[in-house]
């Protein structure tokens, strides 16, 4: 089923006309209402009126994550504060969070996108949605919740964690759609097995999974173990949260809700716009956003776009599942982490050397584990184990509170962290995804 046939099955001519109209309005609005954009456009020598066709967007400057930090907290808001009804922030990241502020209409758009997502996965208002995304500032929890409401499903806002209870609730309330991170879905499958719950006593049939990278192999494993169909969903806080793009029943590429989010693929070094089919950095412009609109926001995610006659009937442009990142950002248990953040944090601890290494593994429970190895030198070495254990705990707590991840801290001997060509390899990602 298609949630909004008019939008999702529009012919290209009608869609582009609508996109152009919205884009013109957006550029005018941000130029007059947001000093940040006025300054940026002026510096680049472009005026909103210069945009005559959609492809003229290439003359406009990009917006980056660091721009978002520089304008923290609400420097990008294009509406008066009274009109903002909700705020979300990115999970963790380099000290200053990335903010998304929503007006009533923005929340409606978001809800619609997530309703389209569930619908594309085959859910209807008769389904029961188990929302095992974390609720809070993170966009996953409430975004998934709003969409479930919009479609009219019975929403169970169980949030993440407490897996045995997840399974009991799943059985008792007949949850048929599960939404969470793919690694958590696999973990639920394991616990299900351990608890000896008869799979046939569950009504689960669909998984809408995202917020971290996962492979087709992992998808097959989830589908087999949970006996469901698993669909990839894509989104990011900056743009709106989950629901920017999602898979349909064909499970081949994600349909972008391009009536709201205008995508481009660029060469991340030159900034040049690349044609369909070519791999590059994904860039979005939020066509209808009111709260914190983004012009040509660089996601740092790598994929390509293509248009095909999809057998689901949708005409929206598709993106391939992500190939990776332009930068070194890691996604650990759904939390965005840059190695530089860890380094900064370690450097603030007196006596620590910048010799560290991050080791990522995906354990038997299919959840990500992060180990931070720190080299011990003369300054921090104490001949009392208690003092070294205290140091370990201190690092653990700093990482927990500043980055939001429970990392294993390991003190290692000097020079035990491999250095290649004089430069240390900071991250060893052993996760098989």
């Amino acid at each position: 089923m298609i949630y909004n046939p008019q939008a999702e099955q529009a012919d290209q001519h009608t869609r582009e006309a609508q996109q152009l109209k919205n884009l013109k309005n957006l550029l005018k609005k941000v130029y007059s209402k947001v000093p940040f954009y006025k300054e940026k456009f002026d510096k680049a020598g472009v005026k909103p009126e210069d945009l005559k066709t959609l492809s003229d967007l290439k003359y406009f400057p990009f917006t980056t994550k660091s721009d978002l930090r520089d304008t923290y907290p609400l420097g990008l808001a294009a509406v008066p504060k009274e009109e903002i009804v909700e705020i979300h922030c990115s999970s963790g990241t380099t000290g200053i969070p990335v903010v998304d502020a929503y007006t009533r209409k923005d929340l409606d758009t978001w809800s619609e996108c997530m309703a389209r997502t569930y619908c594309a996965a085959g859910a209807t208002s008769a389904d029961v949605l188990q929302n095992a995304y974390g609720y809070g500032l993170f966009t996953g929890g409430v975004g998934a919740h709003y969409g479930g409401n919009k479609l009219g499903m019975t929403v169970i806002p169980i949030s993440s964690g407490n897996t045995e209870r997840q399974i009991n609730v799943m059985r008792d309330f007949g949850s048929s759609v599960l939404t969470c991170t793919p690694s958590y879905a696999l973990y639920i499958a394991e616990v299900l097995k351990k608890m000896n719950v008869d799979r046939d006593s569950l009504k689960l049939r669909i998984g809408c999974l995202g917020a971290e990278p996962w492979s087709d192999n992992m998808r097959r494993e989830i589908e087999e173990k949970l006996k469901i169909k698993a669909y990839d969903i894509y989104g990011l806080t900056e743009i709106t949260g989950p629901g920017v793009a999602s898979e349909c029943e064909c499970q081949s590429g994600l349909h972008i809700n391009e009536d709201f989010f205008y995508p481009e693929i660029i060469n991340s070094e030159t900034g040049e716009v690349l044609p369909y089919g070519e791999r590059g950095e994904l860039v979005f412009t939020t066509l209808t956003k009111e709260g914190t609109p983004l012009i040509r926001y660089r996601t740092r995610d790598i994929t390509y776009l293509y248009r095909e006659k999809c057998s689901c009937g949708r005409t929206t442009v598709k993106m391939h599942r992500l190939f990776g990142r332009v930068d070194d950002m890691l996604i650990i248990k759904g939390v965005n982490v840059f190695p530089a953040q860890i380094e900064q944090l370690l450097m603030q601890i007196k006596g620590l050397t910048p010799n560290y290494q991050i080791i990522l593994t995906r354990g038997e429970n299919h959840l990500d584990d992060m180990e931070i190895q720190v080299e011990v030198d003369e300054d921090i070495f104490s001949d009392e184990t208690r003092k070294l254990e205290t140091l370990k705990n201190y690092i653990f707590n700093s990482v927990k509170s500043k980055i939001g991840i429970y990392a294993k801290i390991k003190l290692v001997e000097p020079r035990s962290i491999s250095r290649s060509e004089g430069k240390a390899k900071r991250v060893i990602d052993k996760r098989v995804i």
Partner: protein
């Protein structure tokens, strides 16, 4: 009279202790006392060597992290209550013991116990005040 002890940081991985002892052997360093404090992923080897300066030098040359620490070596009567008597003295004088271990050396019928205390000067005073015998590194 105090003893110089060297402490070495070791990761908990196989072969590390063998490597350390090999380096000492190849440099002709004899060991007088040794103990290992271990945790889940690292250990601290505490050594009193015949020649601590040389031991420190060769270990550092081989990129081990080495720390020199002053400890007390006290003769303890080899009979029930021998250790208890000293513990009581430390306790009543509010001297905290970080760790202790027994050296290989026996002076007459006495064992030599090595103490790392939080206040070594106070520790030495207690030794004196109670007519205990503190040994030097070369006595071990």
């Amino acid at each position: 009279m105090t003893i110089n002890q060297i402490s070495v940081f070791l990761e908990n991985k196989s072969g590390r202790l063998a490597e350390l002892t090999k380096i000492l052997f190849e440099s002709g360093v004899n060991l007088r006392a040794l103990t290992i404090a271990d945790t889940a992923d690292f250990g601290i080897v505490r050594i009193v060597a015949e020649d601590n300066v040389k031991a420190t030098e060769v270990l550092e040359k081989n990129h081990f992290i080495v720390k020199n620490t002053k400890v007390l070596g006290i003769e303890v009567a080899d009979q029930p209550g021998g250790l208890y008597k000293i513990m009581e003295l430390f306790r009543t004088n509010n001297v905290n013991i970080e760790y202790l271990y027994v050296s290989m050396k026996r002076n007459n019928d006495k064992a030599v116990v090595i103490f790392k205390v939080d206040d070594i000067n106070r520790g030495l005073e207690i030794v004196k005040e109670n007519s205990l015998v503190a040994v030097s590194g070369s006595d071990l």
